[in-house]
């Protein structure tokens, strides 16, 4: 399985230099790797929302569900619960996942459903031409806030940690090797995996130079405990000047939602007989 096999005929319409290319190429590399290691590609399902990020499913030649804005998580959850043998990977933008669809993200973490959520966090609504999002910094001048926003951004990693996510990582679109490593780790993690990717939007919010100065990689095996992870996660609040850690912040294995959910026997009973029994009881 080559990278070319994983591409569809769809013409790529991302801006030249878009941070989405890094995510696209990283995930394709990881899918090819998984396939080589024996994981059949037909058991992969990609889900995307609406936004520049979401076009990713048009570009990858793999099963996919191009959903609606803010609703990647419930679709991915439904697919996984219908068939837990599938590997479900969701792609959402920050406006999509942290705004419109925030309730679902929190519940996915709360349930520890075994899906991977990759957030293309460019901190702007790109496809609708430049409005602020839940992670835009205070004072961000966008088309709906020309005088600058008057609210502080969310720290999505902190929110995910508090909601019970069992794998939390952050990547950067200009750090492809780290992205590949985190993607592979997240996809193979048993439980809810959350990755915030600082994805540069060259057209509406080009943070490339700023991020290059601030990002650094976390050391391996650090912060496997909650308090340590929380401290590291709070180092940067998506607003002030601070070092920006990249890598895996937190990882834990506990029973997944589907594990507990599907505990009863699933052999197909004779439905007609059972219906008859229920009707008998109702006489």
């Amino acid at each position: 399985m080559t990278m070319k096999d994983l591409s569809t005929y769809a013409k790529n319409t991302w801006c030249p230099g878009c941070g989405n290319f890094a995510i696209l190429n990283s995930i394709k590399t990881v899918l090819a790797m998984l396939n080589e290691e024996g994981f059949p590609l037909e058991r992969i399902v990609l889900v995307s929302g609406i936004g520049c990020h979401a076009k990713i499913v048009d570009y990858i030649n793999v099963n996919s569900f191009y959903a609606i804005h803010g609703r990647v998580v419930p679709v991915a959850t439904g697919v996984k619960l219908a068939n837990p043998d599938l590997k479900v990977i969701g792609f959402a933008g920050d406006g999509d996942a942290y705004g419109e669809g925030l309730e679902h993200l929190i519940f996915a973490a709360k349930r520890n459903i075994d899906i991977t959520m990759i957030i293309h966090n460019n901190r702007v609504y790109g496809l609708t031409t430049g409005q602020y999002t839940p992670t835009s910094p205070l004072g961000f001048r966008g088309r709906s806030t020309p005088k600058g926003t008057i609210e502080l951004p969310l720290n999505p990693l902190e929110l995910m940690l508090a909601s019970g996510a069992t794998f939390i990582a952050r990547g950067y679109s200009h750090g492809i090797e780290l992205l590949k490593r985190i993607f592979k780790e997240a996809i193979t993690h048993k439980g809810f995996s959350f990755i915030d990717v600082l994805q540069v939007c060259v057209t509406f919010f080009n943070m490339y130079e700023y991020y290059n100065k601030k990002v650094y990689e976390l050391e391996d095996d650090d912060f496997q405990n909650y308090d340590g992870a929380l401290r590291k996660i709070r180092e940067w609040d998506y607003n002030s000047d601070a070092p920006i850690a990249l890598g895996t912040f937190y990882k834990k294995e506990i029973p997944t939602f589907e594990e507990r959910f599907l505990e009863y026997e699933t052999r197909e009973a004779d439905r007609n007989l059972k219906i008859k029994e229920i009707l008998e009881r109702a006489i």
């Binding site: 037909e42 048009d58 609606i68 679709v75 959850t77 439904g78 009973a269 439905r271 229920i278 006489i283």
Partner: protein, 557 residues
């Protein structure tokens, strides 16, 4: 006495619901056909709640205002229902709190000191109703062993105590009138919601996802209880938006799924509905109507969401909409709805109302007849798989993940045959034509069903037209007054030809609906048909038989 009604009333928390069901099941042992109208407020304790249990030799699916027996657990149950009493109505009442002086003079009555009995037996207040049921059974000359049998089958907790308390009531009462045993075969007695749930199960349901909302919640409860029996995946997620989107995930993965809600919850599902339409994902949505707008009257009934449900979701896409009229239709058409949504890859909506959902019915499965198994068209693996292959019928052959030879892409955007997003004009048009074309083939297939049913006097020039749960009251009123009834069960795609045929000989068409704007009347307007008169009721209550007959007599003078 082969046609009579019993009203049992009390406060919320008195177990009136369960009591009504037990009375129905007791009368069921005597061979009666049952129907229960349940009336309860949106509270957990206090207020006033009552059930009217109607028993008849023949099938009935409506209630009468006037009752023959009144079982009053408290004073409200007498005061609020004075208008329902006939001269010969018998009253069994809780003599500890209902004042004899405040009973209507002239009705025979029997007072039972429920509070005193409960105290003496060391029982709980919720068992007042067991005691009064005991008294009622004696009053109708019922043999004790019948009550005992029904109690044992229907009361899981504290059965001995309940029986002891019932026996006290039975012994302290006296017979008023002997209710005859009939020769009918005994039928199951269940709610409309249970019939819908069983119909979905019959249709191969694998998963049910819902957020609690009156009057559809009991489908969720019933299926959650039955999950192990049928290997069902039953999920209650964070919101109705999560409900519909999770269901579409299930549908994508090939599992038959249904969701249930009421008007407000359906509002939240409409974007998902449109997604189902564009992505051609099979889904069944049960909508149990209640009065709106907005929160409205949560525990009462209405038929005011027809046009909302028919037109919801942006864009144009076909949908299958059925509105069953009783428990047998609820079972049959829920099964058909599920099969249809998978065969045509369109959303199916089962539009019910509180009356049907929570009404209790005698259910005759044998009267339904054969129910065919329907399978969706699957990919023949000949050419490379296209999820949205443009075919003559508009229906694309299905394959499901994981399929080694197919890549299965669904898309909320306008897309090409492979499921890749497109903005090409020609592609957009041809795919829209494809989706709409499915409707035509579905209409053709529906000809094998009775999508529009006719009852009563088929030769009458006066016809009632009604939908959903109003079938019962209209049919019985029409039979009494020599009129015709036209009851369309499928409302989308609208069965124009069958409806046209049903109007033959009709000169005065009267619609009977539980809304304020005559929504069925305006639906048939679309196809060139007009009603002559409208009988509308929109106070949250269903028509009772006597009420409808009064209004009809005034109209058809």
């Amino acid at each position: 006495m082969d046609n009579f009604s019993v009203l049992i009333g009390g406060k919320a928390g008195d177990g009136i619901d369960k009591a009504g069901l037990i009375i129905a099941r007791i009368l069921n042992q005597l061979g009666y056909r049952l129907y229960i109208y349940r009336d309860y407020p949106s509270i957990i304790r206090g207020g006033h709640t009552f059930s009217i249990i109607r028993a008849s030799k023949n099938k009935i699916t409506t209630h009468l205002n006037k009752v023959d027996f009144l079982l009053a657990l408290n004073q409200d149950s007498v005061d609020f229902h004075k208008d329902r009493l006939k001269d010969n109505t018998s009253i069994v009442y809780n003599s500890d709190i209902v004042k004899f002086e405040r009973l209507p003079a002239g009705n025979q009555s029997l007072g039972l000191p429920l509070g005193k009995i409960i105290k003496e037996e060391n029982a709980l207040p919720v068992m007042y109703n067991s005691c009064i049921i005991g008294g009622f059974c004696k009053a109708i000359g019922l043999e004790w062993n019948i009550l005992e049998r029904v109690f044992k089958k229907n009361i899981p907790k504290e059965i001995d105590l309940n029986l002891r308390v019932a026996l006290r009531g039975y012994n302290e009462a006296r017979e008023f009138v002997k209710v005859e045993t009939l020769l009918n075969k005994r039928l199951p007695v269940l709610t409309g919601n249970e019939a819908i749930a069983l119909g979905l199960i019959k249709g191969g349901l694998k998963a049910y996802i819902a957020y609690p909302m009156t009057p559809s919640s009991s489908i969720l409860h019933f299926l959650a209880e039955s999950a192990d029996d049928f290997s069902l995946k039953v999920i209650h997620p964070e919101s109705e938006i999560a409900v519909i989107l999770m269901a579409l995930g299930f549908s994508y993965a090939g599992e038959r799924v249904a969701v249930g809600t009421s008007g407000g919850g359906f509002c939240l599902m409409t974007e998902g509905l449109s997604l189902a339409g564009m992505a051609e994902l099979p889904i069944v949505i049960v909508v149990g109507q209640r009065p709106g707008p907005s929160t409205g009257v949560p525990t009462h009934t209405a038929q005011s969401d027809l046009h909302f449900v028919l037109n919801a979701g942006q864009g144009e896409f076909p949908r299958f909409l059925v509105s069953p009229g009783d428990a047998e239709e609820a079972y049959f058409w829920s099964c058909v709805a599920l099969n249809t949504s998978w065969k045509y890859q369109i959303p199916s909506i089962i539009l019910a109302d509180k009356s049907l959902c929570e009404g209790v019915y005698s259910f005759d499965i044998d009267s339904i007849g054969e129910m065919e198994e329907e399978n969706p068209i699957l990919w023949d693996k000949k050419e490379s798989y296209k999820r949205y292959l443009n075919t003559e019928t508009g229906v694309s052959p299905l394959s499901f993940v994981p399929d080694k030879e197919a890549i299965i892409k669904v898309d909320s955007y306008a897309h090409d045959e492979f499921g890749i997003t497109t903005e090409e004009a020609q592609e957009i048009k041809s795919m829209q034509d494809k989706r709409l074309r499915k409707s035509q083939y579905l209409m053709k297939e529906l000809e094998k069903y009775d999508t529009v049913k006719i009852y009563g006097n088929k030769n009458s020039s006066v016809a009632l037209i009604c939908w959903g749960s109003n079938k019962g009251v209209c049919v019985e009123a029409a039979e009494n007054l020599g009129l015709k009834v036209i009851h369309p069960v499928v409302l989308s795609p609208f069965p124009i030809k069958e409806f046209q045929d049903s109007l033959s000989g009709v000169q005065n068409l009267i619609c009977v609906e539980n809304n304020s704007t005559a929504q069925l009347a305006s639906l048939i307007n679309r196809y060139g048909f007009r009603v002559n008169e409208k009988i509308l009721k929109y106070d949250g209550r269903p028509f009772s038989l006597d009420e409808l007959e009064e209004r009809l007599k005034d109209l058809v003078k």
